[in-house]
Symmetry: C2
């Protein structure tokens, strides 16, 4: 049930913004907070949740802590998603669609 934390983490808009801000490069907490409408401690708390969901990882560098995207959480989410893509479900969906049309 590892995907649970991923859903929780990405359900919050601010947390998604932070996560997406890391798409192209690692950033320090201060850098991340600068682009957010919330204070730095709030960003810190969000990063904690994202880290717990295995969506980001930290790399301390002197004074600062650089966060970057980690694929583990995304992998788990994708795995969950894939389990709904079975042929059985597709066939079932088509059947429903057919019934709806014939109403």
């Amino acid at each position: 049930m590892a995907f649970a934390e991923v859903f929780t983490a990405l359900a919050d808009p601010t947390r998604r913004h932070i996560f997406e801000a890391l798409r192209d490069q690692p950033k320090s907490v201060g850098q991340l907070a600068a682009d957010q409408p919330v204070t730095r401690p709030a960003v810190s708390q969000h990063l904690k949740v994202l880290e717990f969901a295995r969506l980001v990882s930290v790399q301390p560098q002197g004074n600062r802590r650089f966060y970057s995207i980690k694929r583990d959480g995304l992998d788990e989410l994708r795995q969950y998603l894939d389990s709904f893509w079975s042929d059985a479900l597709s066939a079932y969906g088509a059947e429903i669609a057919r019934r709806m049309k014939n109403k």
Copy 2:
């Protein structure tokens, strides 16, 4: 930003249970509530959220309303997820991993 509602919908455990209970066949509200630790009105409210997220659809049948899984919401989620699977990100991830090792 259609995926936002999907994240919100699937972030709640009860809502995920309801959603997953529809994997193999459509079910009425009463049927769904019977397998949940919450009351029927609660299930109704959850179904409303799931429907808004385009994760389920309704098909009234006489007295009852049969809910079934709808792929739209899942498609949107998958699309969002895929946007993080670019080669650029993979390359970047590998680079980070390399740096971490050389620490």
